[in-house]
Each structure stands twice: as structure tokens, then as C-alpha cells.
Symmetry: C2
Subunit: 208 residues, 2 copies
């Protein structure tokens, strides 16, 4: 069978996307699958257009849940500079760095700055400075982030995700099978392992 | 240390509460804790007052997720008679049967009827018939479900849950530590096990 692809839709604005990104890097190295990350803009999704779609009680719980989940899987997490985070400029920088080793460095640095160090990465200036720390010239990155092609790619990614049924992040696809939440990563793993065994039992939603 | 109590807030309307109820009965028998179930009315919660707080995409995903989660933990699940389910009459019957062995029989029968057999348990007549199947006289149950005391207890349970920060079900409390979702039952288990070892490390949110 072909080596499966795990498409990983994320926005830097989501702390659970941060957690998933960290876990995929750390724990999926042995998995016979390729990871393809898809930066999408959470504020383009129906549920997030008017801000976070949570009551105050749910927002408070999610902060506690994040701490607990991060502690359980031994991933560092700190208080963010603000809530909600706007991932727009990090997403654009990510896309602008496509095809370069700097993209992976930027991704790790941006997630860490936002969700461990409490840097105010909703601010495009902070994002450009973050680029400098991984060796990307700040003028070059600022210019690249503002190009119509980069903006269009982020919009297209987001629209395509919405068309496929994505409503939040982190979301994972293996083919058309969709998984939402860092707490479904073990389901993603099992799905890949079943495919590797030639057992496509779970690949068709209508079978279930 | 005292034997801890797990308070389990649920509404029959939630398929994930069904899953949690099944798993608690099956998998927590060995846990050194007492389970106290708290029937609460989901439609009394801010997020659910206007119906299900999900986009069409999220609703579709949750159905798939339910199937996948149930399959993973080997719990039967079937298509419901309608969505959303109204748990009101099952909740009132549950409260009306307090202190009797029939309550547990009713709970299992009501969850199963709703989430395995596709019975239309939003209908009070169906709930009363369900009582008959576990040996409760239908006139007696119908009368008990309509008493002011039963209605008041459900309202009080719901208000108290909201005051404690509950925004959906299933929700679990161990003391003031709150856990939401059947997919946090392993966190509930670990919390109880740590308490049993005299390690209260996770019991104070401010420590984290």
C-alpha cells in the first residue's frame, strides 16, 4: 500500500493545535506516514467569525484542560500574551517560508513563542522579529508576508478546509477520514497502522 | 484519606454522556471512589438554550466521532430517533426513582433505548412505557415525574452545576476539580489514583 499522508490543519491561534504540533513531531516519527501541514485561518471558520464560540465557563475550563493535557503528555505551556490570539501574521509568514528549512524552524519558534513564552505574536512586528531569531531577514519576511500570493494561499487553504467539513483545529485528514482535536491523535495513529496492515476497515464512514 | 466521590453530571440527551455512563459502570468498578450521578438539564445551559451550539459541519463530525469512539471502547451505539434528543422526561423519571433499585435499571434502560435502540425517548409516553419494562407502574411513574418536587430538584441540580462552571455533559467533579467529556475519563481515573496515594498535586488549579 502507498505510504499514507496525514494532512494536519492548524492555526497558531489554537493552543491545542500547538499541543498537537508538538506531539506529532515528537511521537509520530515512527509512524509510516507523511505529515503535510495546512495552515488555515481559524477566524475564517463559521464558529470563530464572531470571536471564540465559548461561554465564559467553557473558556475557563479549556484553560485548565490545556494545562492538564500538556502536563500529562509532558509538553511545556505558559500563559499567552492575550486571548484570543490572532494567528494571521504567523500563518502568512509560514506560507511565505514554504520550501525552505526556515519554515520548520519558524513553525516551532512561533508555536513556542505564543504558547510557552507568552510573546504577543498577534502583532506582525513581533512575527517579523521572530523570523530574525531563526535567520530570516526582517525586511524580506515583512515583504513576503504581504504579497497577494501568500494571502490568497491562506484563503484558499481555509476555504478548502471548510469545504471538507473542518470547523476548528487541530484537524487531521487521512484521505477523507477526519479527526478533530489533539485528543484524537491516537485515533489517527491507529488509522495509519490499520492502513499499513492493509485493513481499510475504518476508511469508509458508511461502514461504521 | 477519605474515599473520594466522583460527581457525574449527565443528561440523557447527550450521546457522549451515554458513552461515559457505560464506561464508568464497566471500567471504574475497581476504582477506589464512589460515583454520584447528578441529572442536569442540558437545555438549561447557556450554550444549549438555542439548540445544539454546533455548525452543520461540527454536528456531522460529532456523529462520526461518536461512532468511532464507541467502536474503540467497544460500546454499542445506534442512530437516535431524532436530534437533538430532549432528556427532560427521562431526567424527571430518574429523579422520581431516587433511592430505589429501579433507578439504576431505569438509567441503563433509558440510555440504551435512546442511544442504541433509537426509541423516541423525548416523548414522555415512551419514558413511562420504559418504566413499565423495568417493573415501575406507568401511572405511578407518570404522576411522580410531574410533581413539583421532582421538577424543582432537576432545576436545582442544573443551577448548581452552572454555578460550578459546568457548560456541557458529561462533566465530572472530584472536589472542585472538573473534567469534561468521556475522553477525559482517564484523567478522572488518574486523579483518583493520585488522591489514593495521598498525592494531591493536581487538586489545586493554581499549582499547575
Amino acid at each position: 500500500v502507498d505510504r499514507p499522508v496525514i494532512e494536519f490543519c492548524f492555526d497558531y491561534a489554537s493552543p491545542f493545535a500547538y499541543l498537537a504540533d508538538y506531539l506529532v513531531d515528537r511521537d509520530f516519527a515512527d509512524l509510516p506516514a507523511d505529515i503535510e501541514r495546512r495552515p488555515v485561518y481559524l477566524r475564517g471558520f463559521e464558529l470563530f467569525k464572531q470571536g471564540l464560540p465559548y461561554s465564559a465557563a467553557k473558556t475557563a475550563y479549556l484553560a485548565r484542560d490545556l494545562t492538564r493535557c500538556a502536563e500529562h503528555v509532558n509538553v511545556p505551556v505558559g500563559a499567552p500574551a492575550r486571548m484570543p490570539i490572532n494567528g494571521l501574521y504567523m500563518l502568512r509568514a509560514h506560507i511565505a517560508l514554504a520550501g525552505r528549512p526556515a519554515q520548520e524552524l519558524f513553525r516551532k519558534a512561533a508555536f513556542r513563542a505564543t504558547w510557552v513564552d507568552g510573546a504577543d505574536t498577534s502583532d506582525p512586528e513581533v512575527v517579523v522579529q521572530l523570523g530574525e531569531t531563526i535567520g530570516v531577514d526582517h525586511r524580506e519576511l515583512a515583504a513576503a508576508m504581504g504579497t497577494p500570493a501568500v494571502k490568497a494561499e491562506l484563503r484558499a487553504n481555509t476555504d478548502r478546509a471548510i469545504d471538507r467539513g473542518v470547523f476548528g483545529v487541530p484537524t487531521f485528514f487521512i484521505g477523507d477520514e477526519m479527526f478533530w482535536g489533539h485528543d484524537r491523535l491516537e485515533y489517527v495513529r491507529r488509522h495509519v497502522e490499520r492502513l499499513a496492515c492493509g485493513d481499510a476497515e475504518m476508511s469508509d464512514p458508511d461502514d461504521a
